[in-house]
């Protein structure tokens, strides 16, 4: 194993000197995992995430990880990750698009089993019809799995969010999985300058006994323990146990708010919040929106920007407070269904002022002009 210095998360995230690197999003995943003190990673190929997991494989070969292998399909990989997490090690995997849907049954299972797995979702379209292009539609499906969801705008976010996700997920009062999402191709396959902590620093290892539920190692009590048996009897006590467990899982997600707030410096970021028109979005749509806002400013139109970093938990109260006096909210998205607009409409007081769109999908880029047109429409 490569000898690295264990440093406090606080130091790694906020205090350590940072070096500049001109790298791709996939390489940013590698840089994060290199410092994350991950015990085991399990991979399965799918474009656009394969390169990330190749690079994590390189880390294994170099001695940064103790175990790494290719599983047989995404459902199996997510199951293998489950076994590893139940045995008490820190695990990492990544998937995207059709892989996410293939594995889908496992995601609520992770949550119910209170496993602090971190999974990168490097998003792409799903086959309706066949596509391998950029799209964030899989996030719509993931909204109600109970997993926490962070959405990176760029490679810098991806690096930071992945590292911080381990620490947030492993808090005893949270201890549920986190998906870190980045828009495939736009983030994974492009290069930008990002800042990373020194590579001989790494996070403290995972303490399996910080888990609020027993680790399956025959070392900790209780021994008469089945993961997770609640529905196995047909009686009221069984139903009530299952129901209260689900409520506790929801509560764990709520308790993550304070940790996300601290480590990510808020569930959202705002620029120019008093503007009559706000663009509110997540992922690379934020970057496109910045460009559109600059162009609008040249035309004398004042537009604010809200970047949503945490999708689950959703920054409900923050958005309510921000949008009290806003005249119009524009929600550009990289998917057909407009899941983010739906989420925002569900919390804004007067949902008519939420303009769902512009939307591009099927692999298209988001021309800044499309967003600008929407801004102009709001003004007129």
């Amino acid at each position: 194993m490569i000898d690295q210095k264990i440093v406090d998360p606080q130091h790694l995230f906020f205090e350590a000197d940072r070096e500049k690197r001109f790298i791709t999003g996939s390489e940013a995943v590698k840089e994060a995992i290199k410092r994350a003190n991950v015990d085991m990673a399990i991979s399965y190929p799918i474009t656009p995430q394969s390169e990330s997991m190749h690079l994590v494989g390189d880390l294994f070969a170099e001695g940064y990880l103790k175990e790494y292998f290719r599983g047989e399909n995404e459902f199996a990989v997510m199951s293998e990750v489950t076994g590893a997490a139940m045995a008490g090690v820190r695990v990492f995997t990544a998937t995207g698009g059709p892989g996410t849907l293939r594995a889908f049954e496992m995601f609520p299972t992770w949550v119910g089993a209170r496993l602090p797995i971190v999974c990168a979702f490097l998003t792409r379209g799903v086959n309706s019809p066949l596509t391998i292009q950029p799209d964030t539609i899989e996030m719509a499906f993931m909204l109600d799995t109970g997993m926490l969801m962070l959405h990176a705008e760029d490679a810098q976010d991806l690096y930071d969010m992945l590292l911080k996700a381990f620490i947030i997920a492993e808090q005893t009062d949270v201890h549920i999985p986190i998906g870190v999402y980045a828009d495939g191709f736009f983030v994974t396959h492009t290069r930008e300058t990002i800042e990373v902590a020194p590579e001989d620093d790494k996070l403290p290892g995972y303490n399996p006994y910080s888990s609020p539920v027993p680790v399956m190692d025959m070392v900790n009590a209780p021994v008469r323990q089945m993961r997770d048996p609640f529905v196995m009897k047909s009686n009221f006590i069984s139903y009530a146990t299952h129901a209260s467990w689900q409520q506790e899982v929801l509560a764990a997600g709520e308790r993550a708010r304070k940790h996300i707030d601290y480590y990510l410096n808020g569930l959202l970021e705002v620029e120019n919040e008093k503007a009559d028109i706000l663009i509110m979005t997540s992922g690379t749509a934020v970057s496109q929106s910045r460009e559109a806002i600059a162009l609008a400013r040249e035309e004398g139109i004042n537009v604010g920007l809200v970047k949503l970093k945490s999708i689950r938990p959703f920054p409900t109260e923050e958005i309510k407070a921000l949008t009290e006096n806003t005249k119009a909210i524009i929600v550009p998205e990289f998917n057909r269904v407009g899941w983010l607009a739906r989420e925002i409409k569900s919390v804004v007081k007067d949902s008519d002022k939420v303009m769902g769109g512009p939307r591009v999908f099927g692999g298209m880029t988001m021309p800044v002009e499309l967003i600008l047109d929407e801004i102009r429409r709001c003004v007129s």
Binding site: M40, A84, A221, V223, R224, M226, K233
Partner: protein, 285 residues
């Protein structure tokens, strides 16, 4: 396992349930019990809810009594009748989803090797025929291809019993069950042969009517999985409820099937496993 784990704190002695006290005082952790000792020690399974005469229930009792190191054994199960009983088993056991048991076991075993490199941690998959030969077959076989150090035990009741008696791949040809209303139209899957060519170091088919044979198969499978690679044990464990057998006809059915050759029993021992068994069993087969 640290024996202190199950020890009762003195201030709780009067409130702990009797069955737990018995587990501590007369349980099989750290003991060298086998099926011949059944009745003299506290079994790992307690008050299971399976049907009267259930072949699974008897097989599970025998498997649990045959574990070479119960104190260091983690079971991975799957959806099915056996899952109803596993919440009553005094070992760490996992019920994840239907069919993913060998994938979960893979991650579990590899992670336990990392955490306890110098200790024995036996990971044993115990699942039904539907979970093993149908919905989970790809993950079962892939774990064999990868030569994972896990034991796979199939409780074969030749049907999906928990969901009301549907045909499975392990159902005999022509049997009429739900979802095979005109009779099953393809032969019983020969998973024992598949296991052999897929890389299992040891394969056995057995039944609970011959408890000593079953015990030997389970012990050998776990020891070989520990030292060599994947192993597979297939246990014929009929379902009286869905096959309309009286509880006291189950063992007779098992014996009869073996006798008429429709459920043969036997072993495949790889050269490496043979060598291992000879060293462990002092040359006796």
């Amino acid at each position: 396992m640290n024996k202190g784990l199950v020890k009762i704190s003195p201030c709780f002695e009067d409130v702990m349930p009797q069955e737990y006290k018995e587990l501590v005082e007369k349980g099989s952790y750290g003991q060298d019990y086998g099926v011949a000792d059944l009745g003299s020690f506290k079994e790992l399974i307690e008050e299971h809810p399976l049907c009267a005469g259930c072949g699974l229930a008897l097989s599970m009792r025998l498997i649990l009594a045959s574990l070479p190191n119960p104190e260091s054994t983690i079971i991975v199960g799957s959806t099915g009748c056996s899952a109803l009983a596993f919440s009553q088993v005094a070992l760490h056991n996992i019920h994840s989803l239907f069919g993913n048991q060998n994938a979960v076991a893979t991650g579990l075993k590899r992670a336990l090797k990392l955490r306890f490199p110098d200790e024995i941690k036996d990971v044993v998959v115990i699942a039904g025929d539907g979970a093993t030969a149908d919905i989970g077959l790809d993950m079962v076989m892939q774990s064999w291809f990868r030569r994972e150090n896990i034991t796979t035990i199939m409780l074969d009741n030749e049907a999906y019993a928990n969901t009301g008696g549907q045909e499975s791949g392990m159902t005999a040809e022509k049997a009429v069950l739900n979802m095979a209303p005109k009779g099953k139209n393809f032969p019983k899957v020969n998973l024992a042969d598949v296991a052999q060519v897929a890389g299992c170091a040891y394969v056995a088919t057995c039944n609970p009517a011959k408890s000593r044979v079953l015990e030997k198969a389970v012990k050998r499978a776990i020891l070989a999985a520990r030292e060599i690679g994947p192993t597979y044990v297939q246990i014929y464990a009929p379902c009286p409820t869905n096959y309309k057998l009286k509880p006291d006809e189950v063992l007779a059915t098992v014996k009869n099937r073996e006798k008429e050759g429709t459920y043969p029993t036997g072993e495949f021992i790889s050269a490496k496993a043979q060598e291992l068994f000879e060293s462990l069993e002092g040359g006796s087969k």
